[in-house]
Symmetry: C2
């Protein structure tokens, strides 16, 4: 039985796992990248997660290893599994979160809806693909992409010059003309119990999540949930799974990206769901029964707080934001940097998304006033 959770990575996701671990009565330890990580309160070790000895030393102090991010090298996780450590999600599942090419191949085998895509080995192949899909595409590195990095829009194959220096094979995908982006959050336990929250609408700015509306207005909840279930089962995911999707004008949902951990699109669940995504992740990887995912209010809006410069000037007007009734202000204790995720605000309403948005915006504007 799991008594101590071990989280690799000391970011805000690890930080937000501390609450349910404490609440349920578990211990939680974090292998952090630096002394001043967001999850420093639980950081029992600081070290390099790409070094097997470091990660093994950490693994020896916990009952299950799980993750704040998907950057731990698969060879390290495989080594831990061979040595008998409990890694959730497993290296096998995480391979598909780390490598977008393998992910596309596996989702194709499962017959799941995606943008047209191709593995390409040359500028010529990119050029051919561009012609096939009508002249614009998205080029992605198979691994290492994150929050807009390792991704480029293409209308001309020559734009890819240099991209094959680091990667022998790249992924190209058609540029989908979507009407909006959705994210389907669900969780699957080690025993295979699976539960999903209603699909949410996400708004991205510069490749980074900016706002989340829960539930996504007028969305095909069943289609979205079915896709997530097929992925969770087909890829043997354990813990929280986020499936980012494009919705097209004709109502199709096309799978964009996967994350096998709590996800920015699920932060609303801290206040907006009986069981938060962080609690659910811990339950799932500890193979405990999953918690109820009913909403606490009908509507939730989450706004990200991004750094605007090197000074953390949320702190300056923090007290004003706290006067906005019903706004839940979260900050992650991170040093500021332009575009960095520094915190978020969630507001709920039984009446409408608009009411929740008004509350959240009032708090966000107060912070930046």
């Amino acid at each position: 039985m799991v008594k101590t959770f071990g989280v690799i990575g000391g970011g805000q996701l690890a930080r937000m796992m501390i609450t349910p671990a404490q609440q349920l009565g578990f211990e939680i330890k974090v292998l952090a990248e630096s002394e001043d990580s967001s999850a420093q309160l639980a950081a029992s070790q600081v070290g390099d997660y790409t070094d097997l000895d470091t990660v093994r030393k950490f693994a020896e102090t916990v009952d299950v290893i799980t993750f704040d991010h998907e950057h731990v090298p698969i060879r390290i996780l495989e080594a831990l599994e061979t040595e008998g450590f409990n890694v959730q999600p497993s290296s096998k599942a995480l391979t598909f979160a780390q490598n977008k090419l393998l992910m596309r191949e596996r989702l194709a085998e499962l017959g799941l809806p995606m943008p047209r895509w191709k593995a390409v080995r040359s500028i010529q192949e990119i050029s051919d693909f561009l012609a096939e899909v009508g002249g614009s595409a998205v080029l992605k590195t198979p691994t290492g992409g994150y929050d807009g990095k390792g991704v480029m829009f293409l209308t001309d194959a020559s734009q890819a010059t240099g991209w094959f220096e680091q990667f022998e094979v790249l992924l190209v995908e058609e540029k989908v003309e979507f009407v909006r982006e959705l994210a389907q959050l669900s969780a699957r336990s080690v025993s295979g119990e699976w539960l999903s929250w209603p699909v949410v609408q996400t708004v991205q700015k510069n490749g980074v999540c900016s706002e989340v509306l829960s539930p996504a207005p007028n969305a095909d909840l069943e289609q979205a949930a079915n896709i997530a279930r097929a992925i969770a089962q087909g890829l043997s995911v354990t813990g929280v799974l986020a499936v980012e999707m494009f919705e097209t004008a004709d109502g199709r949902l096309l799978i964009n990206e996967l994350a096998m951990r709590p996800h920015n699109s699920g932060h609303f669940s801290i206040e907006g769901s009986i069981t938060s995504q962080f609690e659910q992740h811990l339950r799932a990887v500890a193979d405990l029964p999953l918690g109820a995912i009913s909403p606490t209010k009908n509507f939730a809006v989450m706004l990200n707080l991004l750094g605007v410069d090197e000074s953390n000037h949320f702190v300056e007007h923090f007290d004003k934001a706290l006067t906005v009734s019903g706004a839940h202000v979260h900050t992650y204790g991170k040093s500021a940097r332009k575009g960095r995720k520094m915190g978020h605000i969630t507001a709920l309403s039984d009446q409408s998304l608009a009411e929740a948005m008004d509350i959240a915006l009032a708090a966000k504007q107060a912070l930046h006033a």
Copy 2:
């Protein structure tokens, strides 16, 4: 401005302060009694809170000192204040939480409703008081009482034999014929902002809180809130204030005990209020604006989980309790002991207290099955 909270005492109240501190982006440090305290995750120091040097060393690492319990000697807090440390609530306020005799005197000055009481210095004076109030009374030590300790029901003054050995003066109070017990939770910030939750009904077993119903059915909310406000202001309380009261058959509310910290009667607020008592306490002692105290659902029920023996057998059936939809199971990571507060369960309902009670009871029964 407060950046780091310092909590003296490593019990479950300190543990539950960790969540709002993390959420709002603050640091929190705890001076714990032992290595395996309930709040060990935040325990930056282990030591004796009755030793000035120990407490001063801790105070030097934080921006405001607050409390998990009311047992820190007043002389230590006065010394810290003299040296310029920020102590909230202040030694002056805490004096009234530590010393029931001084509390009664001060509440009398404020004209607040209480059971009849008297400071007594001899068995004869107790005997006289018993005659005055109709033959039954409650004898209390002025300091050191807690969860039923330092308290005795009396029908004969001779029962007090030995009680004057440790205390020169004792407190006797009439035994109130109450119909139920209520607790009024509120918070007052350093600047004097004050907000109260609706009064709750508490059920005690063997002097320990067993269940809480929020709000108390058919209670005089205004009378209860007015009493709490008068105490918060009159005693210059900062942080959360819990006022335990008796309700008499004719609807009078009589003040029983005070606590100047988050309180067992307010645990429902973690899920049941927009702002939990733990977040409110931190806001209040950091002199930030207080948060909204609106309920998230109309009704909340909280059941305490008490140790039944030396083995923590909640853990045994923990997974079964987690299957009860809507039950929030909290455990405190404490070693088991008969009667010890080991955790609690909260359930909410928009329909009725009965529905919330059904959910909470189902989870409690599962744990003990």
